[in-house]
């Protein structure tokens, strides 16, 4: 029943031990690397790498099942739409034309289009696991501490961690309110029309806002009473020190990032790998 969206799980793996900032930096570096390159060989390599990391961080499939399903739906719709709107995009990129299947009109399947679209799908498939790893292995407070560490004002950083801290509470409130309103006759299923569903949603959101405001008042009082905002700086209980592991992780990510750029410049001569010439 508990829909744990950002459930950071407390286990000890080399990935969990990394500082939140390291993980954010690695995530960004690898994402740029993958987004830059259209070399399917390189992308397959990063994908393999991210699956290995997923394994290392001991994330269970059941934890991410829901997320994976949404991602798959997105990828499939995206692939179909790309083909519908730009069936010849592959041909225009690679400059050659090897037809595989004639469908009708301008919709002909070409090897070039197939390669282009597969590459694109694999790009997502290699970046998404990295995002999941980042979310599930980073302690929100520790992450806030790292954000503050790179110069983001601590009030902003703390707001991030506070949101994550109270997210489950507000989710629970939402569920309770929604059930109580359904008992009064609110129809939340697909049976109701769109317009009335929107109106019905308001009947849940209004009490949710009011009870959340109550909550905010007591949290902010509690924080004031314990000196939040007094000094220009604050320390963090859950701050991690930068250790060897962090240097290794950053090093690896920089290496992969560099590979992406170097492959494009020196091997492919462009962002695309072209096997058709």
């Amino acid at each position: 029943m508990k829909i744990k969206l950002f459930s950071y799980n407390v286990i000890d793996t080399p990935i969990h031990r990394l500082s939140g900032l390291t993980k954010l930096a690695c995530f960004l570096l690898l994402t740029f690397a993958v987004m830059f390159s259209y070399d399917i060989r390189f992308i397959l390599f990063v994908m393999l790498f991210s699956f290995i990391i997923l394994k290392v961080s001991k994330i269970k499939f059941s934890q991410i099942k829901l997320m994976i399903i949404y991602v798959l739906i997105f990828l499939i719709t995206n692939a179909i739409l790309t083909f519908l709107f730009e069936p010849e995009y592959g041909v225009s990129i690679y400059g050659t034309r090897h037809e595989v299947l004639r469908i009708f009109g301008r919709y002909n399947l070409t090897q070039e289009q197939l390669l282009y679209q597969t590459t694109k799908v694999l790009k997502y498939a290699s970046v998404i696991p990295l995002g999941i790893i980042f979310l599930l292995t980073t302690n929100p407070s520790e992450f806030a501490a790292s954000l503050n560490g790179v110069g983001i004002p601590y009030k902003v950083a703390y707001a991030v961690s506070l949101t994550l801290r109270y997210f489950p509470d507000i989710q629970r409130d939402y569920q309770n309110i929604s059930q109580a309103q359904q008992a009064r006759g609110l129809e939340m299923s697909k049976k109701a029309k769109f317009g009335s569903r929107f109106k019905n949603a308001l009947l849940i959101i209004i009490p949710l806002i009011f009870s959340t405001l109550d909550r905010i008042e007591s949290i902010s009082n509690a924080m004031d009473l314990r000196g939040f905002g007094k000094l220009k700086k604050r320390t963090w209980y859950s701050k991690k020190k930068i250790e060897t592991g962090d240097y290794v992780a950053i090093g690896l990510s920089v290496l992969i990032f560099a590979m992406s750029i170097l492959i494009s410049i020196f091997i492919n001569g462009s962002r695309f790998f072209n096997p058709f010439i």
């Binding site: 109580a180 359904q182 009870s211 007591s218 949290i219 009082n221 604050r234 320390t235 209980y237």
Partner: protein
């Protein structure tokens, strides 16, 4: 002779900018270092405002006009900022969930240190030491979801103790705690007071529970003024409590019923110190005089719950083979510690969740396949926090909502809403915006919005939580009234008084199982049951024991019968 006061109010008044009248007026009060003081008063009396003045939330977070002087440790309070005051006065707020800022116990305790920019090694050291003082050192890595109410409160206490404050201020520390945890909380506060000799201020309206351990003085606030400042013995022997809608200890009520003149030399503030020589004889003869009420007729079975089993995750059963019967016109309570499955039981009965095994029968009809909406016409649920139910701005619209969603014609809606408003005593407010109502009135609006659907059974989750004696009596009388009109009432509660006074029968849950289903007087005098379910024995039972009355349970039962008689006479 004495030291200088650590807190001193001189001709002090305070008026919120949003209010037409001052909330505090002519306050003159001296509190000396090391004292332990209880501040009582009905809701809206200004006792929380007094607390806010001391900890600096006034004027820092709540603005208003201050007259007179408040000195804290010789500093003029209004010239200081909240941060400086927070180093002198540490506040433990009433809602232990709301003030849990950190993601883990350790982080929460460290919060004040973090804000002081304390070096991380020193911080971890201090946190460990303070956590040891409140017995939380083994749980530093736990998240708030894994903690019990009592553990959360220990954490909050540790969180203010890291600062080595001079004054500890507890704002309604007993709200939301089950009776046994509340008792422990009072013991922890007392321990800390004795060990550290800090000044302790407790703001609370549950007098009997706080008096479980001794306090030096009690200050009574009503309508923004201090109306009493005396020792516990003096206060409980006076009529001040009764006149100001604060509940006196139950054993005192029993003594008064027995016609005993309670005075301070009897040391009546604790049962342990109460002198019994003049008590035993009149008490025993009173108890023997009380007549047994006539036996009630057998009533048809309105709800039959059979072998109900439910689990959220398929592993741990939150409800485990729960079986009980409810009869038409019953008024019963469901009790048990937090997490015993009480709220889940209500959810399954209302169809919010579906049972894994077992059946629920309404009269003899199995209601398994009824939707949430259909069940609502049989069983209505009133949630604890009225703000979680109210979604309209006008009272009329709020109550009509359930009927409108059912497409009932508007003329019929008008008729039914007006009838319910009448029953709930809300008719004068028909065109009022809900935001103008008091908490108790809002609660009535939510009850009315359920009643209008004409359910045969109403389940109320903690109907009296956070209510002072006056509002408590008001709500309970109202519930008794609708009960007499034929609505069956089930209450989920932590309130032992409620259970004792209003519900003849109680169902006790423990780890999802029914461990008792019997008279309230039996539940509250059964030591074993009481400790298993985190309840608290009623002081009446100990009074009987002290008066050498053999059958304590019967004494309690007779007290209930007598009190019911008193209530009925008052109503006529």
């Amino acid at each position: 002779m004495r030291q200088k006061p650590i807190i001193e109010f001189i001709d002090y008044s305070f008026q919120y900018f949003s209010q037409a009248e001052p909330t505090l007026e002519d306050i003159n009060l001296k509190i000396y270092p090391g004292e332990k003081i209880l501040i009582v008063g009905p809701s809206g009396s200004g006792k929380s405002t007094l607390g806010h003045c001391i900890n600096g939330l006034i004027p820092f977070a709540y603005e208003g006009e201050i007259k007179g002087t408040l000195k804290i440790k010789d500093l003029i309070a209004k010239e200081q900022d909240i941060f400086l005051l927070s180093k002198i006065v540490g506040t433990v707020l009433q809602d232990s969930d709301g003030q849990f800022v950190g993601l883990t116990v350790g982080e929460d305790i460290a919060f004040a240190l973090e804000n002081d920019n304390v070096n991380i090694h020193k911080m971890h050291d201090t946190v460990r030491k303070v956590a040891e003082m409140v017995d939380m050192d083994k749980l530093l890595k736990s998240s708030p979801f894994e903690l019990s109410g009592g553990q959360k409160q220990r954490t909050s206490l540790a969180g203010v103790m890291v600062d080595d404050v001079d004054v500890l201020l507890f704002d309604e520390p007993l709200a939301n705690l089950d009776p046994a945890t509340g008792k422990t909380a009072i013991e922890i506060i007392d321990d800390i007071h004795k060990r550290t000799n800090k000044t302790v201020l407790i703001i609370e309206h549950r007098l009997e529970d706080v008096l479980h351990r001794d306090v030096d003085r009690i200050i009574v606030i009503a309508d923004g003024r201090i109306i009493a400042d005396m020792t516990p013995d003096e206060l409980v022997s006076s009529s001040i409590l009764f006149e100001n809608g604060i509940r006196e200890p139950l054993y005192i009520t029993a003594l008064k019923y027995a016609g005993i003149n309670v005075h301070k030399d009897m040391h009546p503030s604790h049962l342990d110190t109460l002198k019994m020589d003049t008590v035993i004889q009149p008490l025993t003869s009173w108890y023997k005089r009380i007549e047994k009420p006539q036996k009630q007729d057998e009533k048809p079975n309105i709800l039959k719950v059979e072998n109900l089993t439910f689990s959220y995750d398929g592993k741990r059963n939150i409800l485990d083979d729960v079986t009980f019967d409810i009869y038409e016109g019953d008024m019963i309570s469901i009790v048990g510690k937090n997490g015993a499955g009480k709220s889940t039981l209500a959810k399954v009965l209302c169809g919010f969740e579906n049972q894994d095994l077992g059946n629920i029968y309404y009269y003899s009809e199995n209601i398994k396949d009824k939707s949430i909406k259909e069940r609502a016409e049989i069983i209505g649920l009133v949630m604890q926090n009225p703000n979680q139910m109210i979604s309209k701005s006008l009272i009329y619209d709020e109550i009509a909502l359930g009927l409108r969603l059912r497409n009932v014609p508007e003329e019929e809606i008008k008729e039914r809403v007006e009838k319910v408003l009448e029953v709930c005593g809300l008719s004068p407010f028909i065109d009022w915006p809900i935001s103008a109502l008091s908490y108790g009135q809002k609660k009535r609006v939510t009850i009315a919005s359920i009643l209008v659907l004409e359910p045969k059974i109403i389940i109320l989750d903690e109907p009296t939580a956070g209510q002072d004696y006056h509002h408590y009596t008001e709500i309970m009388k109202f519930l008794e009234k609708i009960n007499k009109m034929g609505v069956t009432i089930i209450m989920i509660t932590h309130d032992m008084h409620l259970m004792l006074e209003y519900t003849p029968r109680a169902i006790v849950l423990l780890d999802g199982k029914v461990i008792a289903d019997t008279k309230a007087s039996i539940v509250l005098t059964d030591t074993d049951l009481v400790s298993k379910a985190n309840l608290k024995e009623t002081s009446l039972y100990y009074l009987a024991e002290k008066a050498k009355i053999e059958d304590g349970t019967l004494f309690v039962q007779r007290f209930i019968d007598y009190e019911k008689g008193v209530r009925e006479t008052n109503e006529d």
